[in-house]
Protein backbone atom coordinates (compact mmCIF):
# COMPACT_ATOMS: atom_id res chain seq x y z
CA UNK A 1 0.00 0.00 0.00
CA UNK A 2 1.18 3.45 -0.89
CA UNK A 3 0.71 5.19 2.41
CA UNK A 4 1.20 2.24 4.71
CA UNK A 5 3.51 4.04 7.19
CA UNK A 6 0.83 6.62 7.79
CA UNK A 7 -1.86 3.98 8.02
CA UNK A 8 0.19 2.02 10.51
CA UNK A 9 0.69 5.14 12.58
CA UNK A 10 -3.01 5.97 12.55
CA UNK A 11 -3.91 2.38 13.41
CA UNK A 12 -1.43 2.23 16.26
CA UNK A 13 -2.72 5.53 17.58
CA UNK A 14 -6.33 4.41 17.36
CA UNK A 15 -5.63 1.13 19.14
CA UNK A 16 -3.65 2.70 21.95
CA UNK A 17 -6.09 5.46 22.86
CA UNK A 18 -7.85 3.31 25.49
CA UNK A 19 -4.47 2.64 27.11
CA UNK A 20 -3.92 6.34 27.55
CA UNK A 21 -7.31 7.10 28.96
CA UNK A 22 -9.76 5.09 30.98
CA UNK A 23 -12.11 7.90 30.63
CA UNK A 24 -15.61 6.76 29.78
CA UNK A 25 -16.61 10.12 28.46
CA UNK A 26 -13.78 10.29 25.94
CA UNK A 27 -14.22 6.72 24.78
CA UNK A 28 -17.99 7.03 24.51
CA UNK A 29 -17.58 10.19 22.49
CA UNK A 30 -15.08 8.46 20.24
CA UNK A 31 -17.51 5.59 19.80
CA UNK A 32 -20.19 7.97 18.60
CA UNK A 33 -17.65 9.74 16.39
CA UNK A 34 -16.66 6.40 14.85
CA UNK A 35 -20.29 5.55 14.18
CA UNK A 36 -20.70 8.94 12.53
CA UNK A 37 -17.59 8.23 10.47
CA UNK A 38 -19.13 4.99 9.19
CA UNK A 39 -22.36 6.80 8.28
CA UNK A 40 -20.44 9.59 6.55
CA UNK A 41 -18.34 7.05 4.63
CA UNK A 42 -21.65 5.67 3.41
CA UNK A 43 -22.85 9.14 2.48
CA UNK A 44 -19.64 9.59 0.56
CA UNK A 45 -20.67 6.87 -1.89
CA UNK A 46 -23.84 8.74 -2.77
CA UNK A 47 -22.82 12.35 -2.45
CA UNK A 48 -19.02 12.38 -2.48
CA UNK A 49 -18.51 10.00 -5.36
CA UNK A 50 -21.73 9.74 -7.32
CA UNK A 51 -22.78 13.35 -6.76
CA UNK A 52 -26.34 12.73 -5.55
CA UNK A 53 -27.62 14.93 -2.73
CA UNK A 54 -28.89 12.73 0.06
CA UNK A 55 -30.54 14.08 3.17
CA UNK A 56 -31.99 10.64 3.93
CA UNK A 57 -28.82 9.20 5.41
CA UNK A 58 -29.89 9.87 9.00
CA UNK A 59 -33.14 8.03 8.30
CA UNK A 60 -31.21 4.98 7.06
CA UNK A 61 -29.10 5.23 10.21
CA UNK A 62 -32.29 5.21 12.24
CA UNK A 63 -33.85 2.36 10.26
CA UNK A 64 -30.76 0.26 10.95
CA UNK A 65 -30.96 1.09 14.65
CA UNK A 66 -34.68 0.39 14.95
CA UNK A 67 -34.53 -2.83 12.93
CA UNK A 68 -31.74 -4.14 15.14
CA UNK A 69 -33.48 -3.06 18.32
CA UNK A 70 -36.76 -4.67 17.33
CA UNK A 71 -35.18 -7.86 16.03
CA UNK A 72 -33.02 -8.39 19.10
CA UNK A 73 -35.87 -7.50 21.43
CA UNK A 74 -38.00 -10.00 19.54
CA UNK A 75 -35.37 -12.58 20.44
CA UNK A 76 -33.35 -12.95 17.26
CA UNK A 77 -29.65 -13.70 17.79
CA UNK A 78 -27.59 -10.55 17.44
CA UNK A 79 -25.86 -11.66 14.25
CA UNK A 80 -29.18 -12.48 12.60
CA UNK A 81 -30.62 -9.19 13.79
CA UNK A 82 -27.77 -7.22 12.29
CA UNK A 83 -28.25 -8.97 8.95
CA UNK A 84 -31.98 -8.32 9.05
CA UNK A 85 -31.22 -4.65 9.73
CA UNK A 86 -28.98 -4.51 6.67
CA UNK A 87 -31.71 -6.14 4.62
CA UNK A 88 -34.33 -3.66 5.79
CA UNK A 89 -32.10 -0.69 5.04
CA UNK A 90 -31.12 -2.02 1.61
CA UNK A 91 -34.76 -2.53 0.71
CA UNK A 92 -35.66 0.95 1.92
CA UNK A 93 -32.88 2.43 -0.18
CA UNK A 94 -34.30 0.69 -3.23
CA UNK A 95 -37.81 1.91 -2.47
CA UNK A 96 -36.54 5.49 -2.27
CA UNK A 97 -33.86 5.26 -4.93
CA UNK A 98 -35.57 3.49 -7.78
CA UNK A 99 -38.19 6.11 -8.57
CA UNK A 100 -36.26 9.21 -7.54
CA UNK A 101 -32.63 8.97 -8.55
CA UNK A 102 -33.36 10.51 -11.92
CA UNK A 103 -34.17 13.78 -10.15
CA UNK A 104 -31.61 16.53 -9.91
CA UNK A 105 -30.20 18.82 -7.19
CA UNK A 106 -32.92 20.53 -5.15
CA UNK A 107 -35.59 18.10 -6.32
CA UNK A 108 -33.57 15.13 -5.09
CA UNK A 109 -32.69 17.02 -1.92
CA UNK A 110 -36.37 17.61 -1.20
CA UNK A 111 -37.31 14.03 -1.97
CA UNK A 112 -34.75 12.65 0.45
CA UNK A 113 -35.84 15.14 3.12
CA UNK A 114 -39.41 14.02 2.54
CA UNK A 115 -38.47 10.36 2.83
CA UNK A 116 -36.65 10.99 6.09
CA UNK A 117 -39.63 12.90 7.47
CA UNK A 118 -42.04 10.11 6.54
CA UNK A 119 -39.79 7.52 8.20
CA UNK A 120 -39.60 9.70 11.30
CA UNK A 121 -43.37 10.12 11.46
CA UNK A 122 -43.87 6.38 11.17
CA UNK A 123 -41.42 5.75 14.01
CA UNK A 124 -43.07 8.43 16.15
CA UNK A 125 -46.64 7.25 15.64
CA UNK A 126 -46.24 3.48 15.42
CA UNK A 127 -45.92 3.55 19.16
CA UNK A 128 -46.77 -0.07 20.04
CA UNK A 129 -43.82 -1.28 17.97
CA UNK A 130 -41.31 1.56 17.96
CA UNK A 131 -41.97 2.99 21.37
CA UNK A 132 -42.91 6.28 19.74
CA UNK A 133 -41.09 9.40 20.83
CA UNK A 134 -40.06 7.78 24.12
CA UNK A 135 -37.85 5.46 22.15
CA UNK A 136 -36.87 1.88 22.87
CA UNK A 137 -35.02 0.94 26.03
CA UNK A 138 -33.19 -2.15 27.26
CA UNK A 139 -32.06 -3.19 23.81
CA UNK A 140 -30.00 -6.38 24.04
CA UNK A 141 -26.29 -5.78 23.63
CA UNK A 142 -23.87 -7.09 21.06
CA UNK A 143 -23.46 -10.86 21.08
CA UNK A 144 -20.60 -12.08 18.95
CA UNK A 145 -20.77 -15.87 19.15
CA UNK A 146 -21.32 -15.78 22.86
CA UNK A 147 -19.00 -12.87 23.59
CA UNK A 148 -20.79 -9.91 25.12
CA UNK A 149 -18.59 -6.84 25.05
CA UNK A 150 -18.76 -4.89 28.29
CA UNK A 151 -17.98 -1.25 28.87
CA UNK A 152 -16.95 1.49 26.52
CA UNK A 153 -13.48 0.22 25.77
CA UNK A 154 -14.53 -3.19 24.48
CA UNK A 155 -17.17 -1.50 22.39
CA UNK A 156 -14.53 0.92 21.17
CA UNK A 157 -12.45 -1.91 19.76
CA UNK A 158 -15.47 -3.36 17.98
CA UNK A 159 -16.28 0.03 16.48
CA UNK A 160 -12.69 0.58 15.39
CA UNK A 161 -12.70 -2.83 13.74
CA UNK A 162 -15.93 -2.09 11.87
CA UNK A 163 -14.64 1.34 10.86
CA UNK A 164 -11.43 -0.22 9.58
CA UNK A 165 -13.47 -2.70 7.59
CA UNK A 166 -15.66 0.12 6.25
CA UNK A 167 -12.57 2.05 5.19
CA UNK A 168 -10.97 -0.98 3.53
CA UNK A 169 -14.16 -1.79 1.64
CA UNK A 170 -14.49 1.84 0.57
CA UNK A 171 -10.87 1.94 -0.58
CA UNK A 172 -11.27 -1.31 -2.50
CA UNK A 173 -14.43 -0.10 -4.20
CA UNK A 174 -12.83 3.25 -4.94
CA UNK A 175 -10.06 1.53 -6.90
CA UNK A 176 -12.32 -0.79 -8.84
CA UNK A 177 -14.54 -0.51 -11.89
CA UNK A 178 -17.41 0.41 -9.59
CA UNK A 179 -15.65 3.24 -7.77
CA UNK A 180 -14.29 4.76 -10.94
CA UNK A 181 -17.69 4.50 -12.59
CA UNK A 182 -19.30 6.26 -9.62
CA UNK A 183 -16.90 9.18 -9.79
CA UNK A 184 -17.27 9.32 -13.56
CA UNK A 185 -21.03 9.53 -13.06
CA UNK A 186 -20.57 12.55 -10.85
CA UNK A 187 -18.01 14.31 -13.04
CA UNK A 188 -19.90 13.92 -16.29
CA UNK A 189 -22.96 11.77 -16.47
CA UNK A 190 -23.10 11.86 -20.25
CA UNK A 191 -19.42 11.08 -20.75
CA UNK A 192 -19.73 8.20 -18.29
CA UNK A 193 -22.71 6.83 -20.19
CA UNK A 194 -20.85 7.09 -23.47
CA UNK A 195 -17.93 5.26 -21.90
CA UNK A 196 -20.24 2.35 -21.21
CA UNK A 197 -21.19 3.15 -17.60
CA UNK A 198 -24.78 2.48 -16.59
CA UNK A 199 -25.06 5.67 -14.56
CA UNK A 200 -28.50 4.94 -13.16
CA UNK A 201 -27.28 1.60 -11.86
CA UNK A 202 -24.25 3.30 -10.33
CA UNK A 203 -26.43 5.86 -8.56
CA UNK A 204 -28.64 3.13 -7.19
CA UNK A 205 -25.68 1.02 -6.13
CA UNK A 206 -24.03 3.97 -4.40
CA UNK A 207 -27.29 4.77 -2.67
CA UNK A 208 -27.66 1.19 -1.50
CA UNK A 209 -24.09 0.74 -0.28
CA UNK A 210 -24.33 4.10 1.47
CA UNK A 211 -27.56 3.06 3.16
CA UNK A 212 -26.02 -0.25 4.24
CA UNK A 213 -23.13 1.61 5.87
CA UNK A 214 -25.68 3.71 7.75
CA UNK A 215 -27.62 0.57 8.63
CA UNK A 216 -24.55 -1.12 10.10
CA UNK A 217 -23.73 1.98 12.12
CA UNK A 218 -27.34 2.12 13.29
CA UNK A 219 -27.15 -1.52 14.35
CA UNK A 220 -24.02 -0.83 16.40
CA UNK A 221 -25.58 2.30 17.88
CA UNK A 222 -28.67 0.44 19.08
CA UNK A 223 -26.72 -2.48 20.53
CA UNK A 224 -24.04 -0.43 22.23
CA UNK A 225 -26.00 2.50 23.64
CA UNK A 226 -29.02 0.25 24.11
CA UNK A 227 -31.47 3.10 23.95
CA UNK A 228 -32.76 4.73 20.78
CA UNK A 229 -35.23 7.49 20.14
CA UNK A 230 -36.27 9.22 16.92
CA UNK A 231 -34.60 12.52 17.76
CA UNK A 232 -31.15 10.95 17.23
CA UNK A 233 -31.95 10.33 13.57
CA UNK A 234 -33.80 13.50 12.64
CA UNK A 235 -33.40 15.83 9.69
CA UNK A 236 -31.11 18.00 11.77
CA UNK A 237 -28.78 15.02 12.14
CA UNK A 238 -28.89 14.52 8.36
CA UNK A 239 -27.66 18.08 7.91
CA UNK A 240 -24.86 17.50 10.43
CA UNK A 241 -23.81 14.34 8.58
CA UNK A 242 -23.73 16.28 5.34
CA UNK A 243 -21.57 19.01 6.87
CA UNK A 244 -19.18 16.34 8.17
CA UNK A 245 -18.77 15.15 4.60
CA UNK A 246 -18.23 18.64 3.23
CA UNK A 247 -15.91 19.76 6.00
CA UNK A 248 -13.95 16.52 5.75
CA UNK A 249 -13.71 16.73 2.00
CA UNK A 250 -16.15 15.20 -0.44
CA UNK A 251 -14.87 12.07 -2.09
CA UNK A 252 -11.92 11.53 0.21
CA UNK A 253 -11.99 8.49 2.52
CA UNK A 254 -9.60 9.94 5.13
CA UNK A 255 -11.55 13.19 4.75
CA UNK A 256 -14.81 11.47 5.72
CA UNK A 257 -13.26 9.99 8.83
CA UNK A 258 -11.56 13.26 9.74
CA UNK A 259 -14.74 15.27 9.14
CA UNK A 260 -16.85 12.96 11.29
CA UNK A 261 -14.31 12.87 14.11
CA UNK A 262 -13.75 16.62 14.01
CA UNK A 263 -17.41 17.59 13.96
CA UNK A 264 -18.39 15.10 16.64
CA UNK A 265 -15.59 16.06 19.00
CA UNK A 266 -15.43 19.77 18.26
CA UNK A 267 -18.92 20.54 19.60
CA UNK A 268 -17.86 18.93 22.88
CA UNK A 269 -14.68 20.97 22.99
CA UNK A 270 -16.67 24.12 22.26
CA UNK A 271 -19.41 23.49 24.81
CA UNK A 272 -18.23 26.52 26.73
CA UNK A 273 -19.59 28.68 23.94
CA UNK A 274 -23.11 27.69 24.95
CA UNK A 275 -25.76 29.01 22.61
CA UNK A 276 -23.16 30.75 20.47
CA UNK A 277 -21.79 27.39 19.45
CA UNK A 278 -24.34 26.70 16.71
CA UNK A 279 -23.99 30.21 15.34
CA UNK A 280 -20.26 29.69 14.97
CA UNK A 281 -20.82 26.18 13.65
CA UNK A 282 -22.97 27.51 10.80
CA UNK A 283 -20.56 30.31 10.01
CA UNK A 284 -17.66 27.86 10.12
CA UNK A 285 -19.30 25.55 7.63
CA UNK A 286 -20.00 28.47 5.31
CA UNK A 287 -16.40 29.56 5.67
CA UNK A 288 -15.04 26.14 4.83
CA UNK A 289 -17.31 25.78 1.81
CA UNK A 290 -16.23 29.18 0.53
CA UNK A 291 -12.53 29.08 1.37
CA UNK A 292 -11.49 25.43 1.51
CA UNK A 293 -13.33 23.63 -1.28
CA UNK A 294 -11.44 20.38 -0.69
CA UNK A 295 -12.34 20.33 3.00
CA UNK A 296 -10.00 18.99 5.68
CA UNK A 297 -8.83 16.31 3.24
CA UNK A 298 -6.96 18.92 1.24
CA UNK A 299 -5.05 19.85 4.39
CA UNK A 300 -4.33 16.39 5.73
CA UNK A 301 -3.85 14.60 2.45
CA UNK A 302 -0.32 13.30 1.89
CA UNK A 303 -0.87 13.28 -1.83
CA UNK A 304 -0.69 16.27 -4.10
CA UNK A 305 -3.47 18.70 -3.44
CA UNK A 306 -5.76 20.15 -5.96
CA UNK A 307 -6.62 23.57 -4.69
CA UNK A 308 -9.17 25.79 -6.23
CA UNK A 309 -10.99 23.10 -8.10
CA UNK A 310 -14.51 23.22 -6.86
CA UNK A 311 -16.41 20.06 -7.61
Amino acid sequence: MRISPYLALVAAGALSIPLLTHDNYVIQLLNIAILNAIVVLGLNYTTGWTGQINFGQAAFYGLGAYSTALATKFGLPWIAASFSAILVVALASLVLGLPTLRLRTHYLAMTTIGFAEIVRLIIVHWEPVTGGTSGLRDIPGIDLLGWHPQGQIQHYYIMIAVLALAVVVAARIRHSTVGRAMIATKDSEIAAEQSGVDTLRMKLLAFMIGAIYAGIAGCLYASSIRFISPDSFSGTQAVFLMTMLIVGGMGSIPGCVAGALALTILPEALRFLGQWYLVLYGLGVIGIIALLPGGLASVISVRKLRWGHPQ
Binding site: I173, E193, S195, G196, V197
Partner: protein, 259 residues
Amino acid sequence: MSPAAILQARGVTRRFGGLVALDHIDLDIPRGIVQSVIGPNGSGKTTLINALSGASPADAGSIQLDSREISGLKPHRIAQLGLARTFQNIRLFANLNVLENVKVAAGCRSAESLFGIVTGNRNHRRTETAIDEAAREALHTVGLIHRADDAADQLPYAQQRLLEIARAIATKPRILLLDEPAAGMNMTESLALLETISRLKSTGITVLLVEHNVRFVMDISDRVAVLDFGKKIADGSPAEVQSNALVIEAYLGRRRRHA
Protein backbone atom coordinates in the same frame (compact mmCIF):
# COMPACT_ATOMS: atom_id res chain seq x y z
CA MET B 1 -28.50 -2.87 -46.41
CA SER B 2 -25.04 -3.12 -47.79
CA PRO B 3 -23.26 -5.92 -45.96
CA ALA B 4 -20.10 -3.89 -45.64
CA ALA B 5 -21.73 -1.01 -43.77
CA ILE B 6 -20.87 -1.06 -40.09
CA LEU B 7 -23.19 1.82 -39.28
CA GLN B 8 -26.35 2.54 -41.18
CA ALA B 9 -28.68 5.43 -40.50
CA ARG B 10 -32.04 5.87 -42.18
CA GLY B 11 -34.23 8.95 -41.93
CA VAL B 12 -32.67 10.18 -38.72
CA THR B 13 -34.57 13.29 -37.63
CA ARG B 14 -34.19 15.51 -34.60
CA ARG B 15 -36.29 18.54 -33.76
CA PHE B 16 -35.77 21.22 -31.13
CA GLY B 17 -39.06 23.02 -30.79
CA GLY B 18 -39.80 24.35 -34.26
CA LEU B 19 -36.23 23.93 -35.48
CA VAL B 20 -35.41 20.80 -37.47
CA ALA B 21 -31.80 20.15 -36.53
CA LEU B 22 -31.54 16.88 -38.46
CA ASP B 23 -33.81 16.31 -41.40
CA HIS B 24 -34.08 12.69 -42.56
CA ILE B 25 -30.39 11.93 -42.62
CA ASP B 26 -29.31 8.70 -44.35
CA LEU B 27 -25.77 7.51 -43.83
CA ASP B 28 -23.96 4.27 -44.70
CA ILE B 29 -20.49 3.91 -43.30
CA PRO B 30 -18.48 1.03 -44.79
CA ARG B 31 -16.36 -0.99 -42.41
CA GLY B 32 -12.79 0.13 -41.88
CA ILE B 33 -12.86 3.57 -43.48
CA VAL B 34 -12.57 7.10 -42.21
CA GLN B 35 -15.87 8.81 -42.92
CA SER B 36 -16.04 12.54 -42.33
CA VAL B 37 -19.07 14.69 -41.79
CA ILE B 38 -18.47 18.36 -42.41
CA GLY B 39 -20.67 21.41 -42.51
CA PRO B 40 -20.77 25.01 -41.37
CA ASN B 41 -21.53 25.99 -37.84
CA GLY B 42 -25.03 25.08 -36.79
CA SER B 43 -25.53 22.62 -39.62
CA GLY B 44 -26.31 19.72 -37.26
CA LYS B 45 -23.02 17.84 -36.99
CA THR B 46 -22.94 17.49 -33.22
CA THR B 47 -26.66 16.78 -33.18
CA LEU B 48 -25.94 13.88 -35.54
CA ILE B 49 -23.30 12.47 -33.21
CA ASN B 50 -25.63 12.88 -30.24
CA ALA B 51 -28.36 11.05 -32.13
CA LEU B 52 -26.10 8.20 -33.27
CA SER B 53 -24.58 7.71 -29.81
CA GLY B 54 -27.86 7.99 -27.95
CA ALA B 55 -26.82 11.03 -25.92
CA SER B 56 -29.76 12.97 -27.29
CA PRO B 57 -31.81 10.41 -29.17
CA ALA B 58 -33.38 11.04 -32.58
CA ASP B 59 -37.11 11.67 -32.79
CA ALA B 60 -37.45 9.40 -35.79
CA GLY B 61 -35.38 7.10 -37.96
CA SER B 62 -33.44 3.92 -37.57
CA ILE B 63 -29.79 3.42 -36.67
CA GLN B 64 -28.12 0.04 -37.06
CA LEU B 65 -24.72 -0.93 -35.74
CA ASP B 66 -23.52 -4.08 -37.51
CA SER B 67 -27.13 -4.84 -38.48
CA ARG B 68 -28.35 -4.41 -34.92
CA GLU B 69 -30.90 -1.69 -34.25
CA ILE B 70 -29.45 0.67 -31.61
CA SER B 71 -31.84 3.60 -31.75
CA GLY B 72 -33.71 3.87 -28.47
CA LEU B 73 -31.01 2.10 -26.49
CA LYS B 74 -29.39 3.80 -23.51
CA PRO B 75 -26.02 5.40 -24.35
CA HIS B 76 -24.08 2.95 -22.18
CA ARG B 77 -25.62 0.01 -24.01
CA ILE B 78 -24.65 1.57 -27.33
CA ALA B 79 -21.12 2.06 -26.02
CA GLN B 80 -20.94 -1.53 -24.85
CA LEU B 81 -22.13 -2.67 -28.29
CA GLY B 82 -19.15 -0.97 -29.86
CA LEU B 83 -19.90 2.66 -30.63
CA ALA B 84 -17.63 5.12 -28.86
CA ARG B 85 -17.41 8.89 -29.10
CA THR B 86 -15.57 11.99 -28.00
CA PHE B 87 -17.03 15.36 -27.15
CA GLN B 88 -16.49 18.66 -28.88
CA ASN B 89 -16.57 20.48 -25.54
CA ILE B 90 -14.26 18.24 -23.59
CA ARG B 91 -15.90 16.16 -20.87
CA LEU B 92 -13.26 14.48 -18.79
CA PHE B 93 -13.65 13.08 -15.28
CA ALA B 94 -12.00 15.82 -13.27
CA ASN B 95 -11.78 13.84 -10.05
CA LEU B 96 -9.97 10.89 -11.65
CA ASN B 97 -6.42 10.83 -12.91
CA VAL B 98 -5.52 10.28 -16.54
CA LEU B 99 -5.17 6.51 -16.29
CA GLU B 100 -8.39 6.17 -14.31
CA ASN B 101 -10.27 8.23 -16.89
CA VAL B 102 -9.37 5.61 -19.44
CA LYS B 103 -9.96 2.74 -17.02
CA VAL B 104 -13.61 3.79 -16.66
CA ALA B 105 -14.06 3.06 -20.35
CA ALA B 106 -11.79 0.02 -20.39
CA GLY B 107 -13.99 -1.58 -17.73
CA CYS B 108 -17.23 -0.99 -19.58
CA ARG B 109 -17.91 -4.64 -20.32
CA SER B 110 -16.43 -6.26 -17.22
CA ALA B 111 -19.20 -7.35 -14.92
CA GLU B 112 -17.48 -7.47 -11.56
CA SER B 113 -19.25 -8.61 -8.43
CA LEU B 114 -19.03 -6.39 -5.38
CA PHE B 115 -18.04 -9.50 -3.49
CA GLY B 116 -15.03 -9.96 -5.74
CA ILE B 117 -14.05 -6.31 -5.39
CA VAL B 118 -14.29 -6.33 -1.62
CA THR B 119 -12.48 -9.61 -1.11
CA GLY B 120 -10.00 -8.93 -3.89
CA ASN B 121 -10.29 -12.48 -5.22
CA ARG B 122 -8.44 -13.85 -8.18
CA ASN B 123 -11.22 -13.07 -10.62
CA HIS B 124 -11.16 -9.45 -9.53
CA ARG B 125 -7.39 -9.18 -9.72
CA ARG B 126 -7.46 -10.67 -13.21
CA THR B 127 -10.10 -8.18 -14.35
CA GLU B 128 -8.22 -5.23 -12.83
CA THR B 129 -5.01 -6.31 -14.54
CA ALA B 130 -6.78 -6.63 -17.87
CA ILE B 131 -8.37 -3.20 -17.46
CA ASP B 132 -5.07 -1.67 -16.46
CA GLU B 133 -3.33 -3.14 -19.48
CA ALA B 134 -6.08 -2.08 -21.87
CA ALA B 135 -6.08 1.44 -20.45
CA ARG B 136 -2.32 1.78 -20.68
CA GLU B 137 -2.43 0.51 -24.22
CA ALA B 138 -5.02 3.12 -25.16
CA LEU B 139 -2.91 5.84 -23.56
CA HIS B 140 0.06 4.53 -25.45
CA THR B 141 -1.84 4.70 -28.72
CA VAL B 142 -2.52 8.41 -28.31
CA GLY B 143 0.91 9.07 -26.80
CA LEU B 144 -0.21 10.03 -23.29
CA ILE B 145 1.25 7.14 -21.33
CA HIS B 146 3.80 9.42 -19.69
CA ARG B 147 1.00 11.41 -18.06
CA ALA B 148 -0.89 8.41 -16.67
CA ASP B 149 -0.74 9.57 -13.05
CA ASP B 150 -1.55 13.23 -13.60
CA ALA B 151 -4.87 14.85 -12.82
CA ALA B 152 -6.99 14.89 -15.96
CA ASP B 153 -7.89 18.55 -15.80
CA GLN B 154 -4.25 19.59 -15.42
CA LEU B 155 -3.41 18.45 -18.95
CA PRO B 156 -2.93 21.01 -21.68
CA TYR B 157 -5.87 21.39 -24.00
CA ALA B 158 -4.56 19.29 -26.87
CA GLN B 159 -3.70 16.45 -24.52
CA GLN B 160 -7.15 16.61 -23.01
CA ARG B 161 -8.53 15.99 -26.49
CA LEU B 162 -6.17 13.05 -26.89
CA LEU B 163 -7.31 11.70 -23.54
CA GLU B 164 -10.89 11.83 -24.78
CA ILE B 165 -9.82 9.73 -27.73
CA ALA B 166 -7.91 7.31 -25.52
CA ARG B 167 -10.97 6.94 -23.34
CA ALA B 168 -13.14 6.25 -26.36
CA ILE B 169 -10.84 3.63 -27.87
CA ALA B 170 -10.46 1.93 -24.50
CA THR B 171 -14.04 0.72 -24.90
CA LYS B 172 -12.70 -1.33 -27.83
CA PRO B 173 -15.16 0.18 -30.28
CA ARG B 174 -16.10 -1.04 -33.71
CA ILE B 175 -16.76 2.52 -34.71
CA LEU B 176 -15.35 5.66 -33.19
CA LEU B 177 -17.15 9.00 -33.46
CA LEU B 178 -14.81 11.97 -33.13
CA ASP B 179 -16.51 15.35 -32.61
CA GLU B 180 -14.18 18.11 -33.83
CA PRO B 181 -11.09 16.49 -32.33
CA ALA B 182 -8.74 19.15 -33.70
CA ALA B 183 -10.61 22.15 -32.33
CA GLY B 184 -8.21 24.40 -30.45
CA MET B 185 -5.12 22.50 -31.62
CA ASN B 186 -2.19 24.09 -33.40
CA MET B 187 -0.76 22.80 -36.64
CA THR B 188 1.75 20.36 -35.12
CA GLU B 189 -0.82 18.97 -32.76
CA SER B 190 -3.34 18.59 -35.57
CA LEU B 191 -0.85 16.71 -37.69
CA ALA B 192 -0.04 14.38 -34.84
CA LEU B 193 -3.73 13.82 -34.38
CA LEU B 194 -4.14 12.91 -38.04
CA GLU B 195 -1.42 10.35 -37.62
CA THR B 196 -3.15 8.87 -34.60
CA ILE B 197 -6.39 8.60 -36.57
CA SER B 198 -4.59 6.82 -39.41
CA ARG B 199 -3.12 4.42 -36.90
CA LEU B 200 -6.54 3.70 -35.47
CA LYS B 201 -7.85 3.06 -38.94
CA SER B 202 -5.03 0.63 -39.60
CA THR B 203 -6.04 -1.35 -36.50
CA GLY B 204 -9.45 -1.87 -38.07
CA ILE B 205 -11.51 0.74 -36.25
CA THR B 206 -13.99 2.56 -38.41
CA VAL B 207 -13.86 6.30 -37.74
CA LEU B 208 -16.63 8.85 -38.13
CA LEU B 209 -14.94 12.23 -38.03
CA VAL B 210 -17.05 15.32 -37.56
CA GLU B 211 -15.16 18.44 -38.41
CA HIS B 212 -15.79 22.00 -39.18
CA ASN B 213 -12.37 22.43 -40.69
CA VAL B 214 -12.62 21.01 -44.19
CA ARG B 215 -8.93 21.28 -44.84
CA PHE B 216 -8.22 19.06 -41.90
CA VAL B 217 -10.29 16.12 -43.10
CA MET B 218 -9.46 16.07 -46.79
CA ASP B 219 -6.28 13.98 -46.67
CA ILE B 220 -7.39 11.46 -44.16
CA SER B 221 -10.99 10.85 -45.20
CA ASP B 222 -12.10 8.06 -47.47
CA ARG B 223 -15.52 9.58 -47.76
CA VAL B 224 -16.95 12.95 -46.82
CA ALA B 225 -20.60 13.80 -46.16
CA VAL B 226 -21.68 17.42 -45.97
CA LEU B 227 -24.49 18.76 -43.78
CA ASP B 228 -26.18 22.11 -44.21
CA PHE B 229 -29.31 23.21 -42.31
CA GLY B 230 -29.69 19.67 -40.98
CA LYS B 231 -29.81 18.15 -44.44
CA LYS B 232 -27.19 16.03 -46.12
CA ILE B 233 -26.23 17.98 -49.24
CA ALA B 234 -23.32 15.86 -50.48
CA ASP B 235 -21.66 12.53 -49.79
CA GLY B 236 -18.66 11.22 -51.71
CA SER B 237 -14.90 11.27 -52.07
CA PRO B 238 -13.07 14.32 -50.70
CA ALA B 239 -12.35 15.60 -54.20
CA GLU B 240 -15.98 15.31 -55.27
CA VAL B 241 -17.16 17.16 -52.24
CA GLN B 242 -14.54 19.86 -52.52
CA SER B 243 -15.68 20.80 -55.98
CA ASN B 244 -19.38 20.58 -55.25
CA ALA B 245 -20.94 23.98 -55.80
CA LEU B 246 -23.54 23.47 -53.08
CA VAL B 247 -20.76 22.79 -50.60
CA ILE B 248 -18.78 25.86 -51.55
CA GLU B 249 -21.88 27.96 -51.19
CA ALA B 250 -22.71 26.43 -47.86
CA TYR B 251 -19.28 27.34 -46.60
CA LEU B 252 -18.43 30.64 -48.17
CA GLY B 253 -21.94 31.90 -48.54
CA ARG B 254 -23.64 32.82 -51.75
CA ARG B 255 -22.87 36.06 -53.51
CA ARG B 256 -25.70 38.48 -52.98
CA ARG B 257 -28.30 38.40 -55.70
CA HIS B 258 -27.80 42.01 -56.78
CA ALA B 259 -24.04 42.02 -56.39
